[in-house]
Amino acid sequence: MKKTSADVLPVEGVYGDEPLLAVDDLHVEFRTRAGIVRAVNGVSYTVNPGETLAVLGESGSGKSVTAQAIMGILDMPPAHIPHGEIRFKGTDLLKLSEEARTQVRGQRIAMIFQDALSALNPVFTVGWQISEMFRVHRGMSKADAMKKAVELMDRVRIPAARQRVNDYPHQFSGGMRQRIMIAMSIALDPEVLIADEPTTALDVTVQAQIMDLLADLQRESQMGLILITHDLGVVADVADKIAVMYAGRIVERASVHDIYRAPAHPYTKGLLESIPRVDLKGQDLYAIKGLPPNLLELPTGCAFHPRCPYRQDNCVTDVPPLYQISGTRGSACHYWREVLDGER
């Protein structure tokens, strides 16, 4: 067999007790003229093979920036990573050279984006773009790479893949485009796949199909999947564990089951209550009061305190650590017991 570039990847190192991917106390800030925007303030999470981690949070919570830091596609400057580690199989990606990181991108860790139309190059056919992955990284001939592209399009369940391989991205529907994006991202069998709001731009029926597809692909290949979303409904069936982010911090970490049964952070609780429910038809939809925090001037203490129904005096002054509730479950709320018990 031809020696492929995957064999000579720079990421080696100890990989025993280490998780597949570990983000450890990551800080990301953007130095702008208006001041320092602290987008990520000490985020830690891990993903293991075959595991799905859902990162949940509203716009500006830092969930996408964390993902971009993992991929190394942040524009630096203005972005800076003053502190933290991103370990892939025990190797800190932040310490690798740019060439080494390019080797990791796409081959070991891949990413799919929210809007597949703008994420696909408009001037090349989808077949060309998928097969490019094989030509560039695996040194395949054009014909072989094209064959693999058709196979991949079949694998992501694009009907009549053979006929459509020479169509341009704009000739596909939204759901089909996202499938093409997924095909490109899994082309080189990455070990970690980051899906940044993969279904946000799609309508509800197609959302479910894309989530099914991701779940199936993950089962087949045992990838670690990081699913970034602001939609609690999307993650319920697919995710194993959830990290809820607010103002660049993880405020709650739990298994899917625990979080739906009893959230331990007022923000998670608010998110769950703001999902429309059939049995509450006709009533006003709950909304978390107030606005997301200004990242230039984060509130003192707990960043959520201006919007929190459980607020006490010490919330304004003391930053809550991620209290351990049980096992891997944690909540960054001084009053997690009250939240968990449903007292208000």
Binding site: M71, M111, V123, F124, T125, G127, N166, F172, M176, S185
Partner: protein, 315 residues
């Protein structure tokens, strides 16, 4: 689970297979590229065919002028001062110019210099400006600043003055028409630079470039595979339109006496010669001017057709 999987595949086929854009299935089976699709599109365009026809005739004229005219205008014996400004007659369809030379032959032979100067200047200006613009737009920062300032210096030179200066300074260099090419290139590349840089900056901020990076494309690949093809269309359009402009500029320079030098023949020179007696004999000016206009127009029409074909979204 398998059943559910099968089902979701099935519903997706039902829900999404008949996309409106999926109609042109006839062209499947061959590796379609941007360029081959653009070509398929162009072949059916009357504007493209007409402009290509005109340009083809012009190229023939430039390469084998003797096909069109049996008179050799470089042979002084074909000119007779006594017949100066003669009106069209048998054997001399355009009449004769101020020196009694055959106007038709001179007009035909003038195509070569116009086309060579126009095409070479366009190629050089597009290469220099395009490459610099790609690099400046992609790397940004200090690279961009330096390149942009240098471009502005060149932009600040009034083009006719600059070309006059270069043309008269190096008049004796023996470069002939290539001196015109050089001076027009020196003054013409900043336009391509600006357009390429702007197009690259626009393309760079688009998601597919970030996505390409996220899927492991290196800087070279991003520049030449993702940015260049997406930024090329405006450059090609401007280059083709500029080609007409360069041909016109050559005429202007020749008219002013720093372009093509006699005994070479060029439309600009012919216009300059004819202008002095225009009121009594308008034809020696009108014929080269009409040829010049048609040539410039043909390239502008070509540029327009190519732009439409290169933008998949317009199809």
């Amino acid at each position: 689970m398998n059943e559910a999987t099968g089902q979701s595949g099935h519903t997706s086929a039902l829900a999404e297979a008949p996309t409106p854009g999926g109609l042109p299935k006839a062209k499947s089976g061959r590796p379609a590229s941007l360029w081959s699709d653009a070509w398929a599109d162009l072949r059916r365009k009357p504007i493209f065919l007409i402009s290509c026809g005109i340009i083809a005739v012009l190229v023939l004229m430039a390469m084998w002028p003797s096909l069109f005219s049996s008179v050799d205008p470089f042979n002084a014996r074909t000119c007779e001062l006594a017949t100066a400004r003669q009106l069209p007659s048998a054997g001399h369809p355009f009449g004769r110019d101020n020196l009694g030379c055959d106007l038709y032959a001179r007009t035909i032979y003038g195509a070569a210099n116009s086309l060579v100067i126009g095409i070479s200047t366009t190629i050089f200006a597009a290469l220099i400006g395009g490459l610099l613009g790609l690099v400046a737009g992609f790397f940004g920062g200090a690279t961009d600043t330096v390149a942009s300032r240098v471009t502005e210096i060149f932009f600040a030179i009034p083009s006719i003055l600059g070309a006059l200066l270069i043309g008269s300074t190096f008049r004796d260099s023996g470069l002939g028409i290539w001196l015109v090419v050089i001076s027009l290139t020196v003054l013409g590349w900043p336009m391509t630079f600006r357009i390429m840089r702007a197009a690259v900056i626009t393309a760079k901020s688009q998601d597919f470039v970030v996505a390409a990076r996220a899927l492991g494309a290196g800087p070279g690949r991003i520049m030449f595979r993702h940015l260049l093809p997406n930024a090329l269309a405006p450059v090609i359009v401007v280059a083709t339109i500029n080609l007409g402009g360069f041909i016109a500029a050559e005429a202007a320079l020749s008219y002013l006496g720093v372009g093509v030098q006699p005994p070479e023949i060029s439309w600009g020179l012919m216009i300059a010669d004819a202008q002095r007696r225009f009121l009594e004999a308008p034809l020696p000016l009108i014929f080269p001017a009409v040829f010049l206009s048609i040539t410039v127009l043909a390239f502008i029409m070509l540029g327009d057709a190519v732009r439409d074909a290169l933008d998949p979204k317009l199809r």
